[in-house]
Point group: C2
Chain length 351, copies 2
Amino acid sequence: MRARTRASNRRRRAGSNAIALSDVARAAGVSTASVSRALNTPELVSEDVRAAVQAAVTRLGYIRHSAARALASRRSMTIGAVVPTIVNSIFSAGVEAIERRLEEAGYALLIATSDYSLERELRQVRILLERGVDGVILVGRYHRPELAQMLHERAVPYVCQGAYAADGPPCVGFDNHAAMASMAEYVLGLGHRRIAMLAGIAADNDRVIDRIAGARAALNRAGLDFVPGGLVEARYDVAEARLAMKRLLALRPRPTAVLCVNDVLALGALFEARAEGVAVPAELSITGFDDFDFARNVEPPLTTLRVPTAEMGRGAAEQLLQRLMGQSPPHARLVPTMIIPRGTTGPAPAG
Amino acid sequence: MRARTRASNRRRRAGSNAIALSDVARAAGVSTASVSRALNTPELVSEDVRAAVQAAVTRLGYIRHSAARALASRRSMTIGAVVPTIVNSIFSAGVEAIERRLEEAGYALLIATSDYSLERELRQVRILLERGVDGVILVGRYHRPELAQMLHERAVPYVCQGAYAADGPPCVGFDNHAAMASMAEYVLGLGHRRIAMLAGIAADNDRVIDRIAGARAALNRAGLDFVPGGLVEARYDVAEARLAMKRLLALRPRPTAVLCVNDVLALGALFEARAEGVAVPAELSITGFDDFDFARNVEPPLTTLRVPTAEMGRGAAEQLLQRLMGQSPPHARLVPTMIIPRGTTGPAPAG
DNA sequence: TTGTAGGCGTTATCAC
DNA sequence: GTGATAACGCCTACAA
């Protein structure tokens, strides 16, 4: 019965009809170790072996089994990212940049959404850890304390994106407080004194909290504050933004400027103002935050603050990769932002 | 030397300081098999074992090792999705819906982008296969032939999303040809005769090709065609759309209606028309496709065709999950679309 | 440079 | 219901 070949023997088992590395080894007439080396560290094998393995691989259509690789090498070559949502183009652009960079380095991206909930973020990280990710990318400064602990216990490096903090965990981002403060100052410089703010839901969201605080700080320095009732929150959704904006437009005296926490809200504000017949920027100035695709193309084009989303995503991926390679990149990286004055802001109306 | 405990013994090795299932077994005073069962098929173990294992798991902070599970069970509990890009909210909303459904079922989502290239899509699928995904979700009807072959060889099920075809591989989508034809008919019904089309890049893109063909077929049935020079392509980007729209607006006689292949292009067209002082819809009607967030909120609100993006995503995930569970869901599922008449369309101007 | 062989952490097949 | 134990497919000292 020695006619029973290894192939048939293999096929007998478990229903695995896939080509394994051992099949390649046999076909190439070398050991499995050599195949592994030819594939992973080709510079360590002779030209002959490399060629034979290469030929066998293509002839057999061999595809590596990454679970087995992960188990043996103790690295999954997978990175996990948890973002609030990918439907907001700010995050999706960041994720796409991350994916691109990781792909170049041979890593895959496991994606999860937190829905702006720190609780959910924690759960997602746990799942990612089960999946054996080699690193994690998060958004923002606020996280459940258990999160850092879990990551630390497993020695899984992580990078936070979108908010700069010199002291916290590694990050790539900017100072939300300062950025929004500068926008407030810009509007103050235009002569506005009755200023309101259209914010996102602040709960659990450090970016929103920092931006609100930044704007308020700038106003305070000028001896002002938001107009009474002039700080409203809305979900990141044009319809919600319009509703919230309606409340701001109903204030008397009406604010002459509305600072929005992001561009989606700003467009909602702009649409609502137009629907209500309020002239922008003659009667009312509106500012956005992010500078996404539509910002420069609406009428009038939106004054906003440019955030280098893709650069942050790529930078976060880069930093993680470097850590994974045993390097020690700068702990925190600050990316630049810039106010882009366009058509939705103008001098405060007289009176 | 028998004082050398298993723990220290374990710690000695390979740097793996993670808690393993065997540690849980020891702590709970049961076999590894029982732990595995208590975790995966709790109904097969006694109440005592279940409780002991549960306690040990939480006490030790045990996290399962999915690579090992994948290797042993031959299932990675991971699904791969390849989409053109996630920056377009149509796709990101679909991906988010997919992720949600998969999460409920305990699957993780590996994401990859094709950048609208079938070549790249094929490469990405190969990578996903290396990753051992249990299933794949794709977009559209057009794919490299090698793709189906690879998937078939490995017996990995897949579902295509966003385009309905009764005969091709399993899919969840709608008939792009018919949908765009209905939109063309709607515009014809408004009395328009000089009609143009702002399309996406058609190469490799069945959705775009079908939509163009659908519109043309409807026009043909009315004895018409696009106005000469009235079919232009643009990347899905507001700025590009405006450029393309500029060419359309320069045609003489000017078209009275422009059918856009999606909402992003339609907004670009709308912005450009407004910038050029062309009244919408009095002088020019514009239609979109998708009904994304901004569509109903711009001024005037965009007439478009609603596509149930999230439903398609969820449906695709659902179909894949059913296949994975050995069921045989309907091979192709048609989701409904609907024309949403809003403010950018009106009767053809006289003359 | 190449091969041998042990082990990575689970699951699944057997007996009991 | 429970426990041994052999895979699962690959990597990586270690030896040659």
